[in-house]
């Protein structure tokens, strides 16, 4: 993470204050109540599926564009269209316009993976947790890596020979990565 997003993280943590007695609901609250039970490694690994932009959370496995193309046709095309542009569900593919980032000024442009998503790792995280709609969470890591490779290739971000795995995916630089900025609204008399 760098640039605008790194700035964002700093900005949002700058307001941190001393811990003190935060979270004490009553005067004389105990340090801990002892309710609930300790989570085991197994408890955590059963649910801990998130993937971060630096690659943390990505599982072993690999996928290629041709493999992804076959899985896409079988699992995704019915909703997203044969090439990821036709719908009826969300459009996944598209780089228009090639120049600039005019989504705020011009509502005609459709936001896609290729022209709007800032991180490639988000594709893995989301497809893995929520797709396909009729069987979420059913894809194996190799299948998810393959679909990610296929969608990145369709969006002209990686070559058709690309292999996606836990090492290569976090290195993919998305076209829109540096377009995102900190929320600068603060209340008060100014409109932002």
């Amino acid at each position: 993470m760098r640039g605008t997003v790194a700035g964002l993280v700093l900005a949002l943590v700058a307001g941190g204050c001393g811990r003190g007695d935060r979270g004490a609901a009553h005067t004389g609250s105990p340090a801990t109540y002892g309710f609930g039970r300790a989570a085991t490694t197994e408890d955590i690994s059963a649910w801990d599926i998130d993937v971060m932009p630096d690659g943390r959370g990505l599982p072993p496995g690999r996928g290629t564009v041709p493999q992804g193309s076959a899985i896409y046709a079988h699992q995704c095309a019915a909703c997203h269209g044969p090439t990821g542009t036709e719908g009826p569900s969300e459009r996944l593919v598209g780089r228009e316009p090639r120049q600039g980032f005019p989504f705020g000024s011009d509502p005609r442009f459709v936001r896609t993976v290729g022209n709007y998503w800032p991180y490639a790792t988000t594709l893995y995280d989301y497809v893995n947790r929520a797709m396909p709609l009729n069987a979420p969470g059913s894809l194996k890591p190799d299948e998810v890596y393959s679909l990610v490779a296929f969608l990145l290739w369709r969006n002209e971000i990686v070559a058709d020979t690309a292999v996606m795995n836990s090492q290569t995916l976090p290195q993919v630089v998305m076209p829109a990565r540096d377009r995102f900025v900190v929320d600068n609204r603060r209340g008060g008399p100014e409109f932002r």
Partner: protein, 407 residues
């Protein structure tokens, strides 16, 4: 009350159980939907019941949208500030999950001293709070920003906001329980729905006023609002208030999930997009008179509506009955609570001429609800989410009220 009167009531209640409502109606001693006796004082009323029902003459309804993802609360049919739980707006990303409260658990892990699992009983055993707060989808109001058309009701424009009394345990209490490690700045909130919905939240919100809520308007959360437990982030965009919450992971940075990158970011006119735009800015809408109301008479009418701000209390609502040339302060009905719908009222004498009604809210930071033009200038015509500009109602000469542009 005498013993005899008690006996009669018990008897009637027993009869209701034995005979059923249909038989009672045939016996002439109970109402059926849509029917009332000519003189209700001449027949005994309906018996006791375990679960109350709305009057059959009242049919407030949510409007499910064609996209299958959201339904809108009937703002024009509501009084005061509280939204009945069964009319609270819905926004789901993969439907409403069915969760067995006996099997429910919340996992808190990541940068904590003691990763911990809490079942529902454990959550309810912690010190609890109840607070009234609005909850609003940040996409609310989209039809008032682009493609404006006259036949829009308050429900169709702004029905993705609702207010409830939420009960639960402060997230700060749970964070104290698990021991937050130095360097933890964000947490991931994850739902147990089929979207396994996730958002990253700055940790300061947990120390401030976030709740793990399990109660809504005095009862358990409705399934559509996250049963058995949800994250509640007062004043922040609805999507971040993850429903059916099952996992919280603390980390040193945001996770950059789909819902905070591809969605719920606000493209701006300057060629950037705003991220983590959590707070809902001050806003108001007149809910009466509003489309499809037709004012059948000139003379006195009470203009009424709701105002709210994610930054605190509403301090002022101004109403204009002449398209914005003059503004008069409306009355704010108590209670006026922070991050909560506030009811405003303003008396108006309609002279029968065409005019435009407007309302604008001011919050305790001094923020004034902007005009549509001001918001478009600040963010661009193509922006998404956070459409909190002034709403306008055009009163036509024939008394018909339609949604319309200002002025």
């Amino acid at each position: 009350m005498t013993d005899a009167s008690i006996s009669r009531r018990v008897l009637l209640a027993s009869m209701a159980g034995v005979l059923g409502a249909h038989a009672l109606h045939r016996a002439g001693i109970a109402q059926v939907p849509g029917h009332a006796p000519p003189d209700p004082t001449k027949v005994p009323g309906a018996p006791l019941s375990e679960l109350g029902q709305r009057s059959p003459f009242e049919r407030p309804r949510r409007i499910p949208m064609g996209n299958g993802h959201s339904s809108l609360a009937p703002l024009q049919d509501l009084y005061g500030i509280v939204t009945p739980a069964d009319l609270h707006f819905e926004r789901h990303h993969a439907g409403v999950p069915a969760i067995d409260p006996q099997r429910y658990k919340l996992l808190i892990h990541g940068m904590v001293e003691r990763p911990q699992l809490f079942d529902l009983d454990a959550l309810k055993r912690f010190p609890a709070v109840s607070r009234l707060h609005f909850l609003e989808c940040s996409g609310n109001g989209t039809p008032s920003y682009r493609g404006i058309r006259p036949n829009l009701s308050p429900q169709l424009i702004d029905g993705l906001t609702s207010t409830s009394e939420w009960s639960g345990v402060p997230l700060a209490v749970l964070f104290r329980e698990v021991g937050v490690k130095p360097g933890a700045k964000w947490f991931l909130a994850e739902g147990e729905d089929a979207a396994v919905m996730t958002r990253s939240i700055p940790i300061d919100k947990a120390w401030d006023d976030a709740l793990i809520a399990y109660g809504q308007n005095g009862e358990a959360l409705r399934p559509e609002q996250g049963y058995p437990a949800r994250l509640l982030l007062p004043g922040w965009e609805g999507n971040a208030n993850v429903k059916w919450i099952r996992r919280i992971e603390l980390a040193d940075r945001p996770f950059m999930t789909r819902e905070e990158t591809s969605k719920y970011t606000d493209p701006l006119g300057d060629g950037t997009a705003r991220m983590f735009s959590f707070v809902m800015d001050a806003k108001s809408i007149i809910t009466f008179p509003a489309y499809p109301v037709i004012l059948h008479d000139r003379g006195w009418w009470e203009i009424s509506g709701i105002a709210w701000s994610g930054r605190g209390r509403i301090t002022r609502v101004e109403v204009s009955t002449d398209g914005g040339k003059q503004w008069e302060p409306a009355e704010l009905q108590q209670p006026v609570l922070p991050k909560c719908h506030t009811r405003f009222r303003s008396l108006w004498k309609w002279d029968g001429r065409e005019t435009t009604l407007l309302s604008r809210a001011v919050d305790e930071t001094g923020y004034v609800q902007p005009t549509l033009e001001q918001l478009r200038n600040a963010r661009g015509l193509g922006t998404a989410y956070h459409f909190n500009h002034i709403r306008a109602w055009r009163v036509q000469g024939d008394g018909a009220v339609v949604f319309g542009l200002e002025g």
